[in-house]
């Protein structure tokens, strides 16, 4: 939430657009000061929103039948993932038990948007002429309950909780905060795409929604960390920090369950005005995390330590010129994930024992690539936008010969949106999102030689979502 407000504030500082840049400049008032006493300032920000979403299309695809028409014997990656049912996106888009007899999906929900309901509190103190310390906590929740179960509690989540010391020397932030890798793409989606919309619901079960995340946009995720940002040098800033490490399978030592070192993440950003009213912002980001597992030799049962690393690089740029807003971004990395950096997902590695190759799972990490473009036009209180993005998964060698598994190939999103600012703090939104997921198709293997001889056609899923709703923010 704070990043959102920071972004909004930046927009405001860029000047007084006559009408065109109203969308962001008006948001400078997004933090309400409640008290000021003895150099302490207590402020409050947040939002409440609700959307009606109608989704229509294919439910999670069934495995392609064998070439001879026989029953399929493979798993479509994502089918066995428990995460979507728990409200966490994975690959593909399985509904929460809403498919009809033809495996089609049609459903309405009333749900939160890309941002949930947020209560953010900040306590700031000026400790000398040049330095302030600010503590900030944000509590997020959704309006919809898990899996359309009316009585499931809505558990509040403390997404952010950090302190920032800022001065002429830059700033240091410590606590739970947004990561760095993927931040430019997320920022573009928030500002020009779905900050007041829904886009792709991350899961059918529970929100908040994803916007273009998972289809070319990589969410940085939240982590505990300590991060330094340099002062701006003509718009150039360096950000570097270390974050709490992430493992992919905490309960299975054979899988990537060891992460002994904190994870460095960093970014270089360049942010400058263009003329009286324009703006250019460029960001490049990177991360590296060593991980390990205990490898068991299936023949000798000997155990050895195996090391690897997750790495990722991302970047993008956004430009505001007149009423036009243009943003482009991309990312690539090993073990990165499609939705958010260091995502626990069935696609992260060859680790699905339910669809293992004959020699057993290899735990080899897959590599992910994404790109995203977003366009918007702002006319007074109106904003219209359109976006396109695609996230892709490289196939491992073992995937090309594992007849038991059809690996996810890509997730594509096409979006259109229209927003109207009724007032400084009330926004009406209408958006459309088309989601397509493609799988590679299960390899065909000669049972005598165990060599691949081809592959089945890849499975595909298409869904269309239309969402309309309202956001009140302060």
């Amino acid at each position: 939430m704070n990043i959102l407000n920071k972004l909004k504030s930046n927009g405001a500082c860029l000047g007084l657009w006559v009408a065109g840049s109203v969308l962001w400049s008006r948001n400078a008032a997004a933090e309400v000061t409640l008290f000021e006493k003895d150099n302490w300032t207590f402020s409050f920000d947040g939002r409440v929103n609700a959307f009606l979403t109608v989704g229509q299309g294919n439910d999670f695809p069934l495995p392609m039948p064998q070439a001879d028409g026989g029953m399929s014997t493979h798993t479509v990656m994502g089918r066995n993932s428990p995460r979507p049912g728990q409200g966490v996106g994975d690959v593909g888009w399985p509904s929460a038990y809403q498919q009809d007899v033809d495996n089609k999906y049609f459903a309405m929900r009333i749900r939160s948007g890309m941002y949930g309901n947020i209560l953010g509190f900040a306590l700031t103190k000026k400790i000398n002429e040049t330095t302030t310390i600010r503590g900030y906590v944000s509590v997020w929740s959704t309006i919809e309950s898990l899996g359309r179960d009316k009585w499931f509690p809505i558990i509040a989540e403390a997404r952010e909780g950090y302190l920032t010391a800022a001065g002429t020397w830059g700033s240091v932030t410590a606590g739970r905060m947004l990561g760095r890798v993927g931040r430019t793409s997320y920022e573009i989606d928030t500002m020009y795409g779905h900050g007041y919309g829904v886009g792709l619901p991350c899961t059918d079960s529970l929100g908040p929604a994803c916007g273009h995340i998972g289809t070319g946009v990589l969410h940085p995720g939240y982590s505990a960390g300590i991060s330094y940002s340099s002062p701006s040098l003509s718009g150039l800033q360096i950000h570097a920090g270390v974050y709490d490490p992430i493992v992919f399978s905490p309960s299975s030592p054979d899988d990537w369950s060891h992460a002994s070192f904190v994870r460095p993440e960093g970014a270089i950003t360049f942010d400058t005005p263009l003329g009286e009213t324009g703006k250019l912002k460029i960001g490049v980001e990177g991360l590296y995390q060593p991980i390990g597992r205990i490898k068991t030799d299936l023949m000798t049962m000997e155990k050895t330590n195996e090391k690897s690393a997750v790495w990722g690089a991302s970047g993008g740029a956004r430009v505001e010129l007149g009423p036009a807003r243009i943003g482009l971004s991309g990312f690539r990395g090993k073990g990165l994930g499609l939705g958010y950096a260091l995502q626990r997902s069935v696609a992260i590695a060859d680790n699905d024992s339910g669809a293992a190759p004959p020699g057993g799972v290899t735990y080899e990490l897959r590599t992910f690539t994404g790109f995203y473009g977003q366009l918007a036009f702002v006319f007074g209180d109106f904003q219209i936008g359109a976006g396109y993005g695609k996230g892709m998964v490289d196939q491992l060698e073992i995937d090309k010969s594992n007849a038991a598994l059809s690996v996810i190939q890509s997730q594509t999103g096409i979006s259109a949106s229209a927003y109207y600012h009724v007032t400084d703090s009330v926004v009406l939104g209408l958006d459309y999102f088309r989601y397509t997921a493609n799988w590679y198709g299960a390899p065909l293997v000669d049972m005598t030689t165990m060599q691949p001889t081809g592959k089945l056609p890849g499975e595909q899923q298409n869904l269309n979502f239309v969402s309309a709703g309202v956001t009140y923010h302060w």
């Binding site: 947040g46 038990y97 809403q98 009316k150």
Partner: protein
């Protein structure tokens, strides 16, 4: 297994939700403005309460023994009693029964409403229209199942339940509320219970393990619960008003899981204070939700109608309400519970409830008296299902005394008698082939449970 656990969980969790609808009916004075800045007004409201609750009576009943041993000496068919091991379905299930099947237990727990921390932001966005954002966080005094570290759902952390989170626009044209909010259906009966019955009391603990309590909900009053929705309310026209909109659909686990359409709910109400000492409010409500079975063509719908009225004349408070509908549930509309439909045929049962509440208010003192009953119909297939004794009715009778020490502090003592009756399993035996054969005549002796609760405690609200 998923169905079973979901039912249990849903049943348990149900209790926490059903009184959320009451927040709206609290006095406007309960809102404390903390700051005003840049046109925004920041306010909080909430309450903290705690009660000592003593329950005495029958533990959940054992199935009535079937004595029809076959001529060859084979044991007769056994049956289960609906609600056994499924709190918040039928009767009062606990883990505290003794060897004689009796229940006697003390708890220190939250009352009809839990501990609530709520906050909101208002802004006048035009000459005539106000925008309000509101979020409420609910918790309880007691831990889950007398386990000191566990919370609802048996997770190992204790967090808030974000019961409400909505934005509301209000003007001379009426109001629109979008987000997680109170339901409409069942609102009048719960409002009566809240205002004249158990606002500062406890009534029936929904479940033994946890959660804010039920008051008279489950014994004639029907809780509307909370859900995300878009609701429009007209302005009052000489006291006449309409509220209506649609809510996020609800799955009924284990049967009716495919719910493609949002659920319309609406109410027509008349409220007029004819004089400072005389108020009348009457309300009728309805809801409808299409349902379908997963991966099948079979469809059906849950529907309900309800209504009631309350009046205040001098020190006297009177309220009466009723509801009827298919697939509604005993405690709350669209309750996930084993009593909603036949688990084999999936046919919905119908539910009917009646509730009456009176109170006398003398200055800071309020004395309340109430009674209610809910009836769960028996399907034709239930009458020949020897494996189950279905829920027939739940009956509640209550007495309460509250004393308002200050504007914000209320102490209370209340008594609640809870009685559950089951239909009784059909009388049966096994035929020569070992199949169940229903015997003519009345069913086995229906099971019955009676528990008395005495509660006393204090509420601090702001």
């Amino acid at each position: 297994m998923r169905i079973q656990s979901s039912l249990v969980r849903s049943g348990i969790l149900c209790g926490l939700s059903l009184v959320a609808c009451l927040l709206e009916t609290r006095p406007a004075a309960a809102e404390v403005t903390l700051a005003e800045s840049n046109g925004f007004s920041f306010f909080v409201d909430g309450r903290i309460n705690v009660f000592l609750s003593q329950g005495v009576g029958d533990d959940f009943p054992q199935p009535t023994p079937n004595l029809n041993v076959t001529p060859t000496g084979l044991p007769p068919p056994g049956h289960t009693v609906v609600g056994s091991g499924q709190p918040f379905t039928a009767g009062y299930s606990s883990d505290q029964g003794n060897a004689s099947g009796k229940y006697s237990a003390m708890r220190i727990r939250s009352g009809f409403l839990g501990s609530i921390l709520a906050m909101g932001v208002k802004k006048q966005i035009s000459e005539t229209t106000t925008a309000k954002g509101y979020v409420s966080l609910w918790g309880t005094a007691q831990a889950f199942a007398r386990d000191r570290v566990q919370d609802f759902g048996q997770s190992t952390s204790k967090s808030f339940d974000v019961r409400e989170g909505f934005v509301q626009f209000e003007g001379p044209w009426g109001s629109v509320t979008a987000g997680r909010q109170n339901g409409i259906f069942g609102g009048i009966s719960t409002e009566i219970d809240f205002l004249y019955g158990h606002n500062y009391g406890l009534g029936l603990p929904c479940v033994d393990n946890y959660f804010p309590t039920c008051g008279h909900i489950g014994t004639g009053a029907l809780g509307p619960g909370t859900a995300p929705g878009f609701i429009y309310a007209t302005p009052s026209l000489a006291g006449l008003k309409f509220r209506g909109g649609f809510y996020d659909p609800v799955r009924l686990l284990g049967g009716w899981e495919r719910v493609s359409y949002v659920r319309p709910e609406g109410a027509l109400l008349f409220e007029q204070r004819f004089s400072p000492a005389f108020l009348l409010k009457a309300q009728v409500e309805g809801m409808y939700q299409p349902m379908a079975i997963l991966g099948a063509d079979r469809t059906d719908a849950v529907w309900g109608v309800s209504g009631g009225a309350r009046l205040e004349a001098g020190p006297l408070r009177l309220g009466a309400s009723a509801f009827h509908g298919k697939g509604l549930g005993v405690y709350v509309a669209l309750q996930n519970s084993g009593s909603m439909f036949n688990q084999t045929t999936k046919n919905f049962r119908t539910f009917t409830g009646v509730y009456a509440q009176s109170a006398l208010v003398f200055g800071p003192l309020q004395v309340s008296l109430g009674a209610g009953r809910v009836l769960d119909s028996q399907l034709e297939e239930d009458k020949i299902d020897a494996s189950t004794s279905g829920l027939k009715s739940q009956l509640g009778a209550s007495l309460a005394v509250y004393y308002r020490l200050t504007d914000n502090l209320v102490i209370g003592a209340d008594y609640f008698r809870f009685q559950t009756d089951w239909w009784g399993a059909p009388n049966s035996t096994l035929d020569d082939m070992g199949n169940i054969a229903i015997l003519p005549g009345p069913p086995l002796t229906p099971e019955k449970q009676v528990i008395h609760f005495i509660n006393t405690g204090a509420t601090f609200h702001w």
